[in-house]
């Protein structure tokens, strides 16, 4: 059976003058639909590069990336942009909310350009922020901002939700509640969620954990019984 997401021998080589830096080296892994996947590895292991390639923000030097049966490595920049707007939801470490827009408007910002989207206000209510819909980012706490960021990603009704260190800028408790939220979305909406982190503690809540080291997959493991986010400790 073909997987929902499949990386086939993907490499990314940066050329800095004479020097070649291989950020990702023939990496391959698969992700099934509806899985909660954590990609974990130390700094510089190539996590972000993988995420960039997977999110259509960067192209691979070689290899193929299949998402829902389509080879995105063959996409031109315009197809990639469409891929980003239709198929990908992205949660940033630093939320990246537009400061000048309210929480609701930040969600709408993403929804506006997307054909098959969800109702912004409902999504915001789903992440528990219906009360703060009209607040500006600066009036929200970090956790709340990250919830808006998640709502923004979810509202697009993407095929794939990519999260880059979603708890990186948050305190322990808030981080856990955000992870809980992501997990809930994964379960309730059948969303495929990929979380990238250097924090291996988070791996315990994943369906599948992909360990990365030096640009390639060091180890893949499946959790038969992932822990609920609330029980994680780090």
């Amino acid at each position: 059976m073909s997987e929902f997401v499949e990386l086939r021998s993907v490499s990314k080589i940066y050329r800095m003058g004479e020097v070649k830096i291989t950020a990702v080296d023939r990496m391959s892994f698969t992700i099934s639909k509806g899985q909660f996947v954590v990609i974990v590895g130390p700094s510089g292991a190539g996590k972000t590069t993988v995420l960039n390639i997977l999110g259509g923000m960067d192209s691979a030097s070689s290899g193929h990336i299949f998402v829902d049966g389509e080879d995105i490595s063959a996409f031109d920049s315009r197809r990639l942009a469409r891929y980003r707007r239709e198929d990908i939801g992205f949660v940033f470490q630093f939320y990246n909310l537009v400061q000048n827009l309210t929480a609701l408007e930040n969600v709408e910002l993403a929804v506006e350009i997307c054909r098959d989207h969800l109702n912004s206000r409902e999504v915001l209510a789903d992440v528990g922020l219906s009360e703060r819909a009209d607040n500006f980012p600066a009036q929200l706490s970090g956790g709340e901002q990250q919830r808006v960021s998640i709502a923004r990603a979810l509202a697009k009704n993407p095929k794939l939700l990519l999260c880059d260190e979603p708890t990186g800028a948050l305190d322990y408790e808030t981080g856990k509640s955000i992870l809980g939220l992501l997990h809930r979305m994964c379960r309730e909406r059948g969303m495929t969620v990929v979380v990238i982190t250097h924090n291996s503690a988070i791996a315990e809540m994943a369906d599948k954990v992909i360990h990365i080291r030096n640009g390639s997959v060091a180890r893949e493991e499946m959790n038969e019984h992932p822990l609920p986010a609330g029980e994680l400790e780090w």
Partner: protein
Amino acid sequence: MSIRFRRESWNGKPMKKSLRKELFREIRKSLNRYLSILFIVMLGVGFFTGVRASEPDMRLSMDVMADQAAFMDLRALCSYGITEGDLQALSALPDITAAEGEYSVDALERSGAKQTVLHVASLTENLNHIMLTEGRFPEKPGECLIDAQLPVVSEIRIGSVLHLESGTKDPLSDSLRHTELTVVGACTSPYYLDFERGSTAVGNGEVTGFVLVDPDEFCMEVYTQAYLRSDALRALLYTSREYDEKLTEIKKAAESIVPARVSVRMEELVGDAKRELADAKTKYSEARAEADEKFAEALQKLQDAETKLQEGEAELEKNRKKLENAAKKIEENEAALLEAKEGLEKEEAEIAALSQSISQREQSYQAARAAWVAARTAYEAKKRAFQAKELELRVTESLPESEARMAAISRLEGELRALQEELSQAERELQAHPQPDSSIQTQILTDRIALYVREAQLDKTREQISEGEEALTAGKEEYEEGLQALQEGEQTLREKQLEYSRGKADFEREKEDAEAELSEALLKIEDGEREIEAVKDPEWYILGRDSISSYVALDNDAARIGALGKVFPVIFFLVAALVSLATMTRMVEEKRTEIGTMLALGYSTAQVAGKYIIYALSATLTGSVFGILLGEKVLPWVIIKTYRIMYTNLQVTEIPYHLYYGILAAAAASFCTGGAALFSCMRSIKKTPAVLMRPAAPKQGKRIVLERISWLWKRLSFGQKSTLRNLFRYKKRLFMTIFGIGACMALLLVGFGLRDSIYVVTDKQFGDIWRYDGTIALSETADERNPADLCSEIGETEGISAVLPVFQKQVDVSVNGITKQGNLIVPADPETFMQMVSLRDRKTAEPRVLSSEGVIITEKLARQLSVEAGVSIRIKEDEFRSRTVTVAGITENYVYQYIYMTPDYYEKSFGTEAAYSLAYFCLRDEAQIDDVSEELLKQEAVLGVSQMGSSKDTIRDMLKNLNLIVLVLIASAGLLAAVVIYNLNNINITERVRELATLRVLGYYDRELAVYVYRENVILTLFGIAVGLILGKWLHAFTIRTIEVDVIMFGRVINPQSYLFSVLLTLGFAAAVNFIMFFRLRKIDMVESLKSIE
């Protein structure tokens, strides 16, 4: 804090090595920003210094050129020419290094198809060096050099032979030895910088070019003018204050010798003539006295005879009166006699009638009496008969009664009754013929007596009449005699009168002859006197270079560039300073974390701030140096080069560096950027490092006022909402962009607007306002004649359709202590004048009528004096004549200032009649101007003719230069606009790179992203344009006021096309910059979105 920082940074302590390295890396990393500051500063400083330096450079070029050609500083002219003695006296003056005379004459050249007017002058040796452009100097007699301009504008070439003719009554051979000259070379003269060669009284009035010959070619007795040059002025810059002061001093010294030279020359000219005249005067007075005596004697005799005649006439008159009285009496007597005769006849008739009536009355009386007598006799007879019968009866009755008695009685009674009947009939008869009254008879008698009396009276009267008739006849005879005597007397008188008048006529003839003789003598004396008087004291003029039109024009042009340099570059510079200031501020704000880190690491504030200040200053100073190096060379070069199109003989372009402007601009620019860096650093440094190292709290989003209007807000698309919020969020950027674009737009608008304003001058002044084709200067000798006659004479010249005598005088106009110069114009006929010069309001085009209500003044003058219609102004004609007049209206006018007045009003105000010395004329066909001018100049009444067309060309040429400069300004403003918009856009994108990267991650297409960013830019650009329109309009008005000279009023209106061009250009620049920015937007790395906030 800042004091300490200075000490550390600039007092020798070297910068820490790592910091230095970091600075260089910073520059390399943000080369874009560094270069943009550098470039903007370079533009600002370059433009500022360049334009500012243009004025001194132009003046310097003029000075250097004049010095190289050893050009005169002063020239001396005298109404009788300059003699060798004058020249010696001038050159003996202490400050005069060289003095040289020049002969010159204006002549006509007719060898070509067209007649040209040439100014023939002698070559000078020690000054006014000409530059040979072709050929050689004259070597033999009859050779000449020509104006290098002549081959261009006429058919005269090197090798041509000039056939010169006089343009005046005097033959040319009075001045020149050869009237045929061979051209051997062409040259330029420092005397003429531009195309203008001045005007002349010869030919069509305009000199086409000069011709230079050896002084020996002239056979004139005196020099036309003398050129003077002083080495004391060499070190001084022409037109500088020092030059003017020294020149005034030398001029005063030169003027001080004038009185002495005047008396010397006067003695030479009129000494002998004066003495001769004095003799003639004495002779005349003697003859005059003699004649007067003789006349007095003869006159006395005549007067005596006249008295006698008058006496005789009076007596004759008396006799005539007497005779007339006698005649009247005779007439009266005759009338009385006639009346008396008439009365007599009437009386006679009356008497005859009366006597007849009396006779009638008597007759009828007699008849009546006779009838009465008859009737009475009859009656008495009857009565007696009756009485007899009665007696018989009674007798009978007394008889017894008997039958017979009876019968007798009856019969008697019967008879009685018949008798009775007869008696009563007689009685009746008697009664019918009563006895006439005897008084009648008496009356008749009386009447008859009265009649006799009257008849007697009548006879007496008849006698008297015949006596009167006799007396009348005697009187008539007497009268006839008297009449005869009178007629004789009259005859005698008439003879005497004839005799007298013959004598008088003789006397008069004699006197007339004598007087004629005398007045002839007097006329001769007066002529002589006038001749001497006409030899007025020679008038001297000592003039500087400012008497040469091209030097004045160039000086004015330099001043105009200077004035422009005070406005335009300052704005330009301000924009540049502001933009670099914004860039610096932005940079420091971006580097907040780094500043915090450095402070935390223990670097001093001076070291931390130093980096940014040095960054700013190095960019600024480098930019300034390049700006000064380029600006002070390129701009003056371009500007002077442009002016040299017009001033072809300005052979020198001097463009030294002016340290003053450079340092001024560099210091100001450094102050702006360095100050911005310092200020921003200080603001950051005041916070603790810990605060700084944390990411800056993002600027809070805010609801804007517009959101309160929810019906509108709801309608806006998402992006529009965001755009609007963004606009108000970055207020500083909003302001900067709007101001930056606005200023550039304003500069463009000013540039185009200046062009409009400049063109209005020639187009409107010469097209709409001045409708006449030229001006005639009326000859002074003709001023005894009526100007109207003079002009109608001129008006008969072929091709002229109208002529109007005009009085023109330069006057001072003052009000409330402000004094300005203007030309007083009094046209002989205001109606015709208003057809030749249109008087109207500039804005409403409503005509202004010149009437005797007051004067009409031109707009600029009104503005300078700040007066309106109805206000009184004071006009000073000269030291002695100054009058207050009322302003009746203000009229549109662009060139020169005028006060228009009707002749009546002039007479009322100044008490004298206007002396018309000019005449305006219109042509039937404008193309004939040259022919008509030539025709006019042949007339005695015409002293000179100036053509409107050539004035227009002069002014148009003058303004064309300014126009080119304006184009340079427009180009520079455009360049600045592009750089400013680029820089501001750059800041905008750099500031928001993270937000834009996020949007890309969210899947925004490039185009959508561009729209998101550009929408703001477009709105800001539009706002900027709106601001620029207002700012530009204001700046235009200000610039016009600054660069305007007193003589000219520029248009105040910017044409719609100029608005359009400015807007389109600004939009074009914005579009171009945004187009370039599109590539930058596309290059935004999405990875930026993943980075932590700095």
